[in-house]
């Protein structure tokens, strides 16, 4: 698979429409309320990796109607002839904002005797609705945010999110909350696991490299209770569904956020005769292009950020605490957003688990962006890099570049490859001749780090077998062709 992104790089530089590479996944700084943080007794900061990979989503992940129909077919959404059903195209909308009143008069809390009588009458009277007007959809002013492909077949539903490949399936014949007592109890963890595993195998979704193993789910029961309204005493209870959660990991680190787990529930048919998957939800995007050697904050640095409300990613957390927030645990993870967010990156985060000192049962998790922001360099440089130093013939190679110009310059950027045959080959056409990329760079221009090559080098361009290779990059003055910073070299070997 060949994927060369040099056109992007080339166009960026030569057109001079250059913007500094923006940071990924950061949120605006938010002060975390009036809270004070403290470290719990016995808490120790975990060890921190020097650097981590930051993943983006492959273009191969793009979800289109054809793909959605193929998936739907595997889920059993077929027409009478066995052909694929056409989806209903729907959208998630950013709804128009309603401005509530900015003033309010004190409303009375007590009522007259007549009003009390009116209330009592109102309580006892039934009423009938007028006919429903025709729905107005989408609402005026609604803004299309993303496309959803939905399929329906009887009581089965499938929704595929074009934006982030998230799939939701349900079979409402088995999503029952009111069953005969004891029917659900017969659904053991093992049986539920067997049904869930068979379901996964049957729908045969394209694998993604961060899929869980499906061998060790977390089990939980959905239990229905009848309770006394005054005392809360439980009068009756029964299990109606089993939930199985398959947690994802990436490079042995947990994945948090909506993409962090595959969620399955197994339910019982109304009469209790059989079991089947009642709901299923999974994010399916394929990851690639790790930005290699990305520096991360240490957990103690991240804790300082937490105290200041910096880099707070899950800032929609709706908690309230009466006391201080006591940190009891911290760990490194990748954050995979879903909701209606793009989920185009997996952001490295430090997760801090905290509790309210006044009520330790009140726990919450804070995700702090662990990716260290690049400090502005103070002198001109260029850096070229590869993702590894040694490749087998089957390996894909990723090559990236970063450069900075401290003052406005008319420059020549040259990227070349030195091959075992003794020749220098010029990017982007891999000819054994000098090919300069000319650009007028503004002062303070900072590009990357950004990957611009991602392919299997064997048989491509200048690669002609195993041996020792070296990429190099140079920035030169356009008028004199003198170097304006040191040459950057990235050496690597390909298996003989």
């Amino acid at each position: 698979m060949r994927k060369i992104e040099f056109t992007v790089l080339f166009a960026l530089i030569s057109s001079l429409l250059l913007l500094p590479f923006s940071s990924i996944g950061t949120s605006a700084d938010v002060r975390i309320g009036p809270y004070k943080f403290e470290l719990g007794r016995g808490f120790k900061f975990p060890s921190a990796p020097d650097s981590v990979a930051v993943f983006s989503v492959s273009e191969k992940s793009a979800v289109n109607e054809e793909w959605a129909m193929e998936v739907a077919k595997n889920f059993g959404f077929v027409n009478e002839d066995g052909g694929a059903l056409k989806p209903i195209i729907d959208y998630y909308y950013k709804m128009p904002h309603f401005n509530p009143p900015s003033q309010r008069e004190q409303e009375k809390g007590n009522q007259t005797e007549q009003e009390q009588v009116d209330d009592e009458n109102r309580n006892d009277q039934g009423y009938e609705l007028p006919n429903q007007p025709d729905p107005v959809w989408p609402p005026k002013g609604a803004e299309e945010m993303l496309k959803l492909y939905t399929f329906q077949l009887g009581n089965k539903f499938l929704k595929i999110n074009e934006n982030n490949g998230a799939i939701y399936y349900s079979n409402n014949n088995y999503m029952n909350f009111a069953l005969e007592e004891g029917v659900g109890e017969k659904l053991s963890d093992d049986v539920a696991h067997e049904i869930a595993y068979a379901f996964m195998k049957n729908v045969d979704l394209p694998a993604v490299q961060w899929d869980p193993t499906y061998s060790e789910p977390l089990f939980s029961d959905v239990e229905v209770y009848q309770a006394d309204r005054k005392s809360g005493e439980i009068l009756n209870s029964y299990i109606c569904m089993k939930e199985l959660t398959f947690a994802r990991q990436l490079y042995d680190n947990p994945v948090v956020g909506g993409g962090g787990a595959v969620r399955i529930a197994v339910g019982v048919s109304p009469k209790g005769g059989d079991y089947a998957v009642s709901s299923f939800s999974r994010l399916a995007r394929i990851l690639e292009n790790p930005e290699i050697a990305q520096a991360v904050y240490t957990p103690s640095e991240a804790y300082s950020m937490l105290q200041e409300g910096e880099g707070f990613i899950n800032n929609t957390l709706r908690f309230h605490a009466e006391g201080n927030l006591v940190i009891k645990n911290a760990y490194f993870a990748y954050y995979a957003p879903t909701g209606y967010q793009n989920a185009d990156y997996l952001t490295p985060v430090w997760v801090f688990t905290a509790y309210d000192s006044e009520d330790p049962s009140n726990e919450m998790e804070f995700f702090i962006n662990a990716k260290k922001e690049q400090s502005q360099p103070d002198e001109t440089f260029v850096r070229i890099y590869t993702d590894k130093a040694y490749y087998t013939p089957n390996d894909d190679q990723q090559v990236g570049i970063e450069l900075y110009c401290d003052q406005a310059e008319n420059v020549v950027l040259y990227i070349g490859l030195y091959a075992p045959d003794g020749y220098f080959y010029s990017f982007p056409f891999w000819t054994p001749s000098f090919f300069p990329i000319v650009a007028n760079l503004p002062a303070g221009f900072h590009l990357g780090p950004i990957n611009f090559l991602d392919y299997n080098p064997i048989g491509e361009g200048p690669y002609n077998g195993g041996g020792h290779y070296a990429y190099f990059a140079m920035l030169m003055d356009k008028a004199t062709y003198e170097l304006i910073c040191p040459i950057s070299v990235a050496e690597f070997d390909i298996e003989e």
Binding site: Y92, E115, A178, V224
Partner: protein, 246 residues
């Protein structure tokens, strides 16, 4: 005797014929949202939840009863007096979006509304109440005490939860209205859908009767499915389920 009964029956029918048109009511919604807090961190997205709610319900013909925000959300909006202005009990659907704590809704100025403040008070027009806050319904027995006769369902979270910029209410209404699911199925489905609720939490759904649990549907759902009856008379019990969103 027979004559008298026939007369009474005819009188009743005549009365009903006139009564029904007089009492024809369009379903209503009400919303409260708080993004700015004096005693907690501000939130970025509670207005998105109510904007989504307004868009869905208004598009299906619901009328607006009230929408209050930030410091103009008061305790009386949750029907703490059960007389005069009764807040959420005057509308068929209510959503409150903001911060909560163990057993309470946090108001912008730091005041709190507990379940005990509204005990026995929801007995008029309220059918469905969505409290989209952390931890409020961890004391569900107290809050379920509000469901006297009129309210069919109360739902939210028993643990901390995350805002979704409107995605969770959207997921709920898509199922409850567009797909005609029962409210408990709609809420369960939305909280278990990665695209609607990405966080790790424990959700809860409460109904007043088992019939409401099993057979209820929102007014004006697109499939025209019928709404379950109000509880009458009050049997002093409630039904609930909790589940993990992860």
């Amino acid at each position: 005797m027979l004559k008298y009964s026939l007369f009474a029956l005819l009188s009743s029918l005549t009365f009903l014929i006139f009564l029904i048109p007089l009492n024809a009511e369009i379903p209503e919604y009400s919303c409260t949202w708080i993004n700015e807090f004096d005693t907690a961190s501000d939130l970025p997205d509670c207005d998105d939840d109510t904007d989504t709610t307004i868009a869905w319900l208004a598009s299906r013909g619901y009328d607006r009863r009230f929408v209050w925000s930030d410091h103009l959300v008061w305790e009386i909006d949750f029907d703490i007096y059960n007389s005069g202005y009764e807040g959420l009990d005057e509308a068929d659907f209510h959503i409150h979006s903001g911060h909560g704590g163990v057993g309470y809704i946090l108001l912008a100025d730091g005041d709190k509304v507990y379940g005990s403040d509204v005990y026995d008070n929801w007995d008029w027009d309220s059918e469905w109440v969505f409290i989209y806050t952390c931890l409020t319904l961890s004391d569900h027995s107290s809050w379920a005490g509000a469901l006297k006769t009129g309210t069919h369902a109360l739902f939210g979270f028993v643990t901390t939860c995350q805002g979704t910029y409107g995605a969770l209410p959207d997921g709920f209404f898509r199922r409850a209205i567009d797909w005609g699911w029962t409210p408990v199925q709609a809420y369960y489905g939305a909280t278990r859908d990665n695209s609607c609720y990405p966080g790790n939490a424990t959700a809860i759904f409460i109904t007043d009767t088992l019939n409401q649990w099993y057979n209820d549907h929102m007014w004006y759902n697109d499939l025209g499915r019928s709404t379950a009856n109000d509880e009458y008379s009050d049997d002093s019990t409630y039904w609930y389920a909790t589940w993990n969103t992860y």
